[in-house]
């Protein structure tokens, strides 16, 4: 994020219009939010349709998609849409997700993390180590799902692969989906757990206190940036 706090829409302007007192901070632009939620909706649909085909007990979920054959038809296209949408999102977010020494230190304090003892944690940048690991898990899982998904896409591609490759891909596809679903459950819970996160991804902004508490290094970076970019007469 090279240009925090500068947006075009109403909410974004409000976020920066704070002459004396620091108001809210823009964390996700409207574009980022839209992109995130396209990925999220695709994930939910792909997961539900995939689970319908994974376990007999969940086959009833195929009713949500118009029955078994429609589930089979739609699932791979939903998956492709998710990969494409995530590609845009991932490229934009990749630079914020590099693991740094302080992230490894943060991970060693996992006990403090889960017990809300944030005062004992090293400072966190735009994303904490947990969020970064989620990012990498998604990148790896989606890559795996894409490659194996093409192999087991019977209508168009399976006939080009030997049966042994199709079999291995079936297992790996299920495995990647399993890891991804567990990762996203953690991701969703973390958003509920850390109050203000859902607001950040739905309305775009966070309070200064939120940024200070959860992402202090990022907060400091924004303050420095804002101070530097502010006209001298202010």
């Amino acid at each position: 994020m090279t240009d925090p706090g500068l947006g075009t829409n109403e909410a974004d302007r409000r976020a920066t219009a704070a002459p004396g007192r620091l108001d809210t901070i823009l964390r996700y632009t409207a574009e980022e939010r839209t992109n995130h939620w396209i990925v999220a909706l695709c994930f939910v649909l792909a997961a539900l349709s995939g689970l319908a085909l994974f376990h007999p007990a969940l086959f009833g979920l195929s009713g949500l998609f118009g029955g078994g054959p429609w589930t089979r038809i739609l699932h791979p296209f939903i998956g492709l849409a998710m990969v494409v949408a995530f590609l845009f999102f991932g490229v934009k977010e990749a630079s914020h997700n590099r693991m740094e020494p302080r992230d490894w230190a943060w991970l060693r304090h996992v006990g403090d993390v889960v017990n809300n003892r944030e005062d004992r944690l090293p400072e966190v940048g735009r994303y904490n180590a947990g969020q970064k690991l989620v990012f990498y898990a998604i990148v790896l899982c989606l890559t795996g799902l894409l490659l194996t998904g093409i192999v087991i896409w019977r209508a168009y591609f399976s006939l080009y692969f030997p049966i042994s490759v199709v079999r291995v891909s079936s297992v790996l596809h299920a495995f990647c989906a399993f890891v991804l679903i567990c990762t996203i459950i953690v991701h969703i819970y973390a958003a509920i757990w850390v109050r203000g996160s859902v607001h950040a991804m739905t309305r775009g902004t966070v309070t200064p206190g939120w940024a200070w508490k959860h992402h202090r290094a990022w907060f400091r970076e924004i303050m420095t940036h804002a101070a530097n970019s502010r006209p001298r007469s202010d």
Binding site: R21, L22, A52, L53, F54, H55, P56, A57, L58, F59, S62, G67, G68, P69, T71, R72, V114, N115, N116, E118, I152, R154, A155, S158, I163, S164, V166, R167, V168, S170, V171, A174, F175, F178, I181, C182, I185, V186, I188, Y189, I192, W193, V194, R195, G196, T207, P208, G209, W210, A211, W212, K213, H214, F219, R220, M223, T224, A227, N228
Partner: protein, 304 residues
């Protein structure tokens, strides 16, 4: 196919047992015995199969051998495979094998199928596809150790030999059996077929085929279509018939323990979140955090 009056003992994508209180007295295991040593490759069985099942495959092209069509398809459920093999003595052997569904006792297709009731196994051992429940995913192709099911390009449903379950249900033998002019195809209870095969094998051995034997592979729990082979020790000579077929370990893993285990871990992950919320609670930002933020912002303002 759907029209059937046979008891179902196993159903795809179904976790609970099928109704099993009836013990049909006539419901013994049936089997088709294909004696490759008697087969002359006339393809009467292929024609009978087409006729009985109302199947008309597209006219193919001649590729310089007798095998026609070239492969099994959604509308060719059985096929004579012709293999020309030079034996160690330098003689040519023409090994003709009627290919088609083997009706495994432990069917890989049924194990892999995600759609409830799209694949069933009757109490007499026949494995049948119920196309109205088929979703066209092709998992049966992935699961089959014999490369038998074919997905139709027309309706995206899976098709294969039914062992004429509709005929067998009313006491008739499969259409292919009816048509065989040499007696290479016989049908009856599995026990009878094994006994018949034993006699044939004894005869073959007495005539110099010391490796003659019955193909009823244990890896898939035995099959309800069995072969008498002159070279039972070299099954792959017969156009790639697997020597020791079994459901692939990958399919077993995918369709076995991983299903309940993965669901359990996913549910556990969600539960862990729920109870974390109950025990530890949300991580909230309060007025003191806001004050600290304003304080830091003011310092930063003065700093540059």
């Amino acid at each position: 196919m759907a029209l059937q009056s046979l008891d179902i003992i196993r159903r795809s994508a179904t976790t609970l047992p099928s109704p099993e209180i009836r013990e049909p007295t006539g419901g013994q295991d049936v089997a088709k015995l294909i004696d490759t040593t008697k087969c002359i490759g006339c393809k009467a069985c292929q024609v009978a199969c087409m006729e009985w099942n109302d199947l008309r495959d597209e006219i193919g092209t001649n590729v310089g051998q007798y095998q026609n069509p070239h492969d099994l398809s959604d509308s060719s459920w059985t096929l004579m495979r012709f293999a020309e093999v030079e034996n160690p003595k330098g003689d040519l052997e023409w090994l003709i094998r009627k290919d088609g569904c083997m009706h495994c006792a432990d069917p890989g297709c049924l194990k892999a199928c995600p759609s409830p009731g799209a694949i069933v196994q009757y109490s007499n051992g026949i494995v049948d596809f119920h196309e109205e429940n088929c979703i066209g995913c092709g998992y049966c192709v992935t699961g089959c150790p014999f490369d038998i099911p074919r997905i139709s390009k027309k309706d995206h449903k899976a098709y294969k030999c039914t062992l004429c379950s509709d005929r067998v249900a009313v006491g008739l033998e499969p259409a292919c059996i009816k048509s065989c002019p040499t007696g290479a195809l016989v049908f009856g209870t599995k026990d009878d077929m094994k006994q018949h095969a034993a006699e044939r094998i004894e005869d073959l051995k007495s005539r110099g085929f010391e490796n003659a034997g019955l193909y009823d592979p244990a890896g898939v729990g035995g099959t309800h279509v069995m072969y008498v082979l002159h070279h039972a020790d070299q099954a792959p000579l017969y156009s790639g018939l697997p020597q020791d077929p079994h459901i692939s370990p990958n399919v077993r893993l995918w369709k076995g323990v991983s299903k309940p285990a993965a669901l359990a871990v996913m549910a556990f992950t969600a539960l862990a979140g729920f109870f974390h919320y109950i025990r530890v609670g949300p991580d909230e930002t309060d007025a003191s955090d806001e004050a600290a933020a304003q304080e830091m912002a003011r310092k930063q303002e003065k700093a540059p």
